[in-house]
Symmetry: D3
């Protein structure tokens, strides 16, 4: 029975400030430069959510992409779209909102919501020139 | 000797209807929604075909991409381009034409045609927001 | 008062067959080649809808893009998405479903729906390598 | 002597809130919805700057794109990149930071800086699905 | 009778050196910088060829895109693809191979080849961040 | 501690000729076709550089992307941009400049420069339709 990976891409826009509140302002500026702007900046994020599994004989699907889309919209897009990652997004509480941390926190909310299907990979694009990947390791 | 993966991207357009003839019309509509439209719909598909192997000292190639392109055109593009996956495409006979099943059937026709080179991955984009991957498992 | 053009891009998937029922099958095949496949083929269409006008002091908008999106969804996307242009789409009745005719018919349904705002241009992409534009002339 | 339009595309990221301080909070929320989030959101903006003129016999250029890039970086990118349009950007003072107003204000700073060459068009993408154009009218 | 613009996009790869042989090496280096590298550099060019005209009742076409593609391939792509604009391309003889001059020379070879249909616009992308347009003026 | 892969995409333009000097001109032409043009051709290359590692508690980063960008610019972009791979680029000395060999040589210069961080993957796009990947094996 073939094992296929299916991916749904979704988009959202958000503001953030890369800032570690445990450090001084000087240290934050030195570490994060313009990404530390206290008045925020923002991005058009693009999230690729991948599920891996056998192809059902009955449907020809690994997972219904409409179902997968609804899960991601509820768990991630409705929380983060047109929001501020440092202030508004519960799943980012107490975490520096770098792409690395955003993708890991997305995994933590999406993995149980997608189970028993197998979330296998998240790719998060922050700009057209940089992206991060996480596979739950 | 370094092992490199090379990929050739090709495009084709096709119609399909996601439909399982073993099920009732009601069940098909419930399972597949608008993708079950009896009058068909269609997509611009994009297929990435990857071959992995050592780099030849003589050519600097893993495989001549012109040769790879011709194989994919013969085996997949000429069969599927401007066609209907449910009616016209021999390698899709008796298979529900979801992206998952299309990518697996493409593997089955491409793997022997590309051998002894090693087909390592197929990625099939159905729309700009969803794609499937298969590596022969 | 500055005059700005704003554009909203929307996507839909549809099947079609380029066929003129007033001509013989032989003539249709000669004129349209593989686009005349009697079993249909299809595309991921991308439609850019542009409205031109003064920028409101009150809102900073030419038109609320949410409103524009809803109009295009009602008038075009809900009619054409996951449908067959030759069979299912009322605004394409009795018209050969080439990109040229699709974009002109979209204008005819969108222009009155968007008025009194000024629809200024439609761009319809049929594939990543070809598109048509219409400005109501 | 042929008249050609040359375009340089540049990228920047910024936060904003669509808000008219002359209106009540309720009216702002009604008009702007989630774009009115008091904690901001943001975008990866893409700006296409077009200059039109005769092609120089000496250089084959309408304008040296390196010079054009430096002007846009000084006048727009250094002001807006990783900044907040409502707070940090001098050329947006007292203007609701919609795409329409951003593109008009960019024109006002770029037109004199590019003269005597002729700025002919600005296109500003806010997301992959919406953009605005301004030609100085 | 509606007037529509149809566009076909084609791709080619070429080498060039931006160099004016009437000037000294020092002046060339000062004017063109790294684009003047005597050992050449190159680009993946993308050319959008637009034809404007009435939509035929018989075909629903402004022009058969297959015919348009063949003309562009013969007149431009076969001359320029995998070639050197300074050495190999007859239509660039005695012209500095900037994008501006390439697009104007493409017009001069394409306009008569496409007539009596009306070539209305050429857009040539040199990189993902710069492009030129010419409409025959 | 989560292990994340971060990727920075960079662009450069270069000329090359696919040619093996150990073979006859006839054999080169037979093997490489138009890619063997003695007058060169060129591409807009796009390089994705991936680093894998744990996410720092202090910064939320796997690696500072500004640092990664500077390393790639020094080691690859400044050597190859607007250059000729056969003549100008030291790290390509005595190697046929196919994409496969370019990506392996980029690995050899980048891996030590990025250490002790872990370079995990390079992806090099030569055109929009073909790319190569290397992971150091």
């Amino acid at each position: 029975m073939p094992i296929v990976t299916v991916t749904r891409r979704l988009h959202f826009n958000a503001a953030h400030r890369v800032h570690n509140p445990a450090l001084s302002d000087e240290e934050n500026l030195r570490l994060f430069g313009k990404c530390n702007n206290p008045n925020w900046h923002g991005h058009n994020y693009m999230l690729d959510v991948s599920v891996t599994g056998p192809v059902s004989d009955r449907t020809g699907y690994v997972i219904d992409l409409g179902v997968l889309k609804r899960i991601v919209q509820e768990q991630v897009i409705e929380q983060a779209d047109h929001r501020n990652f440092n202030i508004d997004v519960a799943f980012m509480h107490d975490v520096i909102p770098t792409s690395e941390n955003i993708v890991v926190q997305c995994w933590r909310v999406l993995q149980p919501a997608i189970a028993p299907a197998t979330l296998s990979r998240l790719v998060l694009w922050e700009t057209p020139n940089n992206y991060v990947e996480y596979s739950g390791e």
